[in-house]
Amino acid sequence: MSDLCEKTATELARLLRDRETSSVEITRSVLDRIDAAEERVKAYVTVRPDMALEMAQDADRRFAAGDVKPLTGVPIAVKDNMCVRGQRTTCGSRILANFVPPYDATVVSLIRKEGMPILGSANMDEFAMGSSTETSCWGPTRNPWDLEMIPGGSSGGSAAAVASAEAVVALGSDTGGSIRLPACFCGVSGIKPTYGTVSRYGLVAYASSLDQIGPIALTVEDLALMLNLICGHDPLESTSVPQEYPDFTSFLDKSVKGLTLGLPKEFFGQLNDPDVERVMADTRKVFQSLGVKFVDLSLPHLDYGIAAYYIIAPSEASSNLARYDGVKYGHRAKDFDGMIDMYCRTRAEGFGSEVKRRIMLGTYALSSGYYDAYYLKAAKVRTLITNDFKKAFESCDAILCPTAPSPPFKIGEKVDDPIQMYLTDVFTIPVNMAGLPGMAIPGGFSDSGLPVGIQLIAPHFQEGRLVQLGSALQKETDHHLKRPPL
């Protein structure tokens, strides 16, 4: 029998329900794995064994008392940008290196209520700005499949933790691909739900109109369980959609026969990586064998996606990150001459260069005289992209495309070339721009043995359809069951 830490949440939940194991046993198993692997992977900013075990004991008491929910006792890692009351939450930034939130994010409250032990906070690109988890002030996370490679970002810690069995499931956040890209690069499954589905309350904002929390796990089945837990209306958030959500596990065994997948020519036309092309072709074959139909379609404004994203996201970020000024919490420069100097030095010392770059971009784009040409134009492009998708979904049930244009790249390879780094998100960004749900699942491996993922995109609030398609694929393939040779 493999270690408990290597099992899926679904398996563990069954073992727990049958009282064949305890949450403490599982949590210890994961903590042992963290002890063994963390030094190489560096998935976490902070591991909290005491807290995790205490929560595991609570979970076991709940099993004794019969007060059990589907994921009670299953340990989870939380990305370091979600507030955990009384526990340091740093966003991978020096400026919040000592910040201890006085409140729980809504998702963290939900996790507590469910009784899932929180293992610690997972590493990330600073303020979720990056595609490689290299911009964290705590240093890069490494890809468990090849420690020389980046894990993808910005939720690289969450994905690497799940891939290396340093967590059973994890929460990530996705602004332009930050769940899907690392899930893809680490060979695990991740979903960014529809904007407004999972509460952002307590998620440290990067770009408010794009940020969305979602789960990362080994299987689509686990993702469905996690969606059941975290989707829901939150009165603390104005952009949270007040509606009821289905039981996502009910989509797991639904046949996909007769469903139509759209293949946007703008996505496939850009492919120039043989591994990605092969994986896409293989995936199509599997779906075809399941009775899925395909239709070629066009999303004409997709080419402007990245350009528009890099106006909107930095604009919002420049305002969202203004609060880190050294006045109330977080880092404050030691020596300064007056208030303005305190602001300048605090922020110069506290932020890394990618964050500074985006703050400057956004400040510029919102400046009087430039607003119309940049922000307003980008907002219009966003509407066009959203309309493109709406039109596309008239002829298909979901869209199939790659998650990333290539397999994982080397640490340091693109960190000094922002444009190349930004292009990593070419397939994921449009999904955030349109607020759609997108799922990344393993599709195969490159010739050099690195994971290659595929992406499924559905209309708003059709996460269930993604679960249906994803689980159908995972029943026919076993890429998601492969573990990195750590």
């Binding site: 939130p101 309350y201 305002s319 006045v327």
Partner: protein
């Protein structure tokens, strides 16, 4: 050359909601510093705003009272600037799509009624407060006020004189107080005003270069600040200088204004729609409901008082300065249907006791019932007008009913002819010399006799009856002696 001033005013009014604009903290003045705060108004990482519905309703109420169009869809925008009293370093405000637009209010000015255009009424959040330590270079931040809902009421540049500005503000304030959405307290900063001022040669239609005036925190200082600034601008132009577009600060000690920052130093606020707050759809049914619930506003009430009660416009103006005072008047008139008498008593005796503060009426110890009772006691000659004033003071001090005070202090008017004739006889007997003067035709001594009778009755004698009986008695005595 003759110049005229062009003035536009920006008023900020604190809304009287229970909680803050975007979180559930109490909206209260004067609490322990930083006690009315939570992660949301402290701008902690990860928090999000949720609009206070009441604050929206109050804004709509003011918009409707100012004859504005209520926008079907409006938006909150972020106004970005760095200051330690602003925890997020942006203020949630409104920019392109305010809740209400394009209205007007009528203002009574010395030169007649003026219609002042209202550009917009929008909702925003207030900042906190800095407290500077005077003994060391340290400042403290109190964030109790952070996130308190404010409405900004922007006027068109329709105002021409400091006096008009002051009247406009008084009218605006009384509307806010009538609507029960702001306490109108200028000292505590719940009603604040900035002004945009320019001057131009009379008859010119294009606008001159304007300055923005800040820190005028009373009606008097608003007039002083505007007067100074208008004169300064006219003097400068007369000297051939140019007006510089800038923000100027009024100094209440010297009564002058001084440059605070120039146009070049002006902030670029980088307004953009707040992505944390969706476009606000103001439901037409809600607007209609609020419209139906609007109280009668000061101007309408004043006009009605003149018409319905036949009191002079001046009286009506004083009585409608606050809704509670007007209600007080109306309730009293219901019980004692002589409006002018009621108005006189409220405007003189009552306002004296309230020290001119019409808002104090809510805690007035004299109820309309008691005041009406008092007036009835004067009318039916139970007490004299003079005694009534003493009784009134006692009523204000004790809150007791006038009849009880009169009974307790034995102040009932003597209207018994026999009793009065006896008193008159006594006075006449004691003053034979004065009677003699009267007999010789010096009728002015009548006043002396009345005074003596009143004195002898300790002020309780019915003065009308005394006059009548005295005349009869003197006539009788003189006739007898002749």
């Amino acid at each position: 050359m003759e110049y005229e001033a062009v003035i536009g005013l920006e008023v900020h009014a604190h809304l009287l909601t229970e909680s803050k604009a975007f979180c559930s903290c109490a909206n209260k003045f004067g609490a322990e510093p930083n006690s009315n705060t939570c992660p949301i108004c402290l701008g902690m990482p990860g928090v999000l705003p949720v609009l206070n519905r009441k604050a929206l309703e109050f804004t709509v109420r003011m918009g409707l009272a100012c004859n504005c169009t209520i926008s079907g869809v409006s938006r909150f925008a972020r106004k970005n600037y760095y200051y330690p009293d602003l925890p997020k370093n942006y203020q949630i405000s409104q920019y392109e799509l305010p809740i209400s637009l394009n209205g007007w209010i009528d203002v009574e000015t010395p030169g007649g009624k003026r219609r002042i255009g209202i550009t917009r009424v929008h909702l925003e959040e207030d900042a906190g407060k800095l407290i500077h330590d005077e003994t060391k270079p340290v400042s403290y931040v109190d964030l109790n006020r952070t996130g308190v809902p404010l409405i900004e009421i922007v006027s068109e540049p329709d105002i021409r004189t400091p006096e008009e500005a002051s009247e406009y503000l008084r009218t605006l304030r009384s509307i806010l107080v009538y609507l029960d959405i702001c306490d109108g307290n200028m000292e505590e900063g719940s009603f604040r005003c900035d002004a945009n001022v320019s001057v131009r040669p009379k008859g010119e239609t294009t606008l001159g270069v304007k300055t923005e005036l800040k820190n005028m925190n009373s009606f008097r200082n608003i007039q002083r600040g505007l007067r100074y600034e208008i004169d300064r601008q006219i003097d400068a132009l007369t000297e051939g200088e140019r007006i510089v577009q800038e923000t100027r600060l009024f100094d209440p000690v010297t009564g002058s204004t001084a440059s605070m920052r120039s146009k070049e130093q002006a902030h670029d606020y980088r307004y953009f729609p707040d992505p944390d707050l969706l476009p606000l759809r103001v439901d037409a049914d809600m607007v209609e409901r609020i419209r139906c619930e609007l109280p009668e506003l000061p101007t309408a009430k004043k006009e009605r008082f003149v018409e319905q009660f036949g009191i002079p416009p001046y009286d009506a103006g004083v009585l409608t300065a606050s809704r509670d005072l007007a209600d007080y008047f109306e309730r009293t008139v219901e019980l004692f249907p002589n409006p002018k008498t009621v108005s006189n008593w409220i405007m003189t005796e009552l306002m004296r006791e309230l020290k001119g503060d019409e808002l104090g009426i809510t805690s007035c110890p004299i109820t309309p019932t008691h005041l009406a009772e008092l007036l009835r006691l004067i009318e039916d000659n139970t007490i004299s007008g003079k005694i009534a004033k003493t009784v009134f003071e006692e009523m204000y001090a004790s809150g007791a009913a006038p009849a009880d005070i009169i009974k307790k202090k034995g102040l009932v008017q003597i209207s018994d002819a026999g009793q009065l004739t006896e008193l008159i006889g006594m006075v006449l007997d004691e003053n034979p010399g004065e009677v003699e003067k009267f007999r010789r035709g010096k009728t002015a001594v009548m006043g002396f006799f009345v005074g003596q009778v009143m004195k002898a009755s300790k002020g309780k004698a019915n003065p009308g009856l005394v006059n009548q009986l005295l005349a009869e008695e003197l006539k009788r005595r003189c006739a007898v002696e002749d």
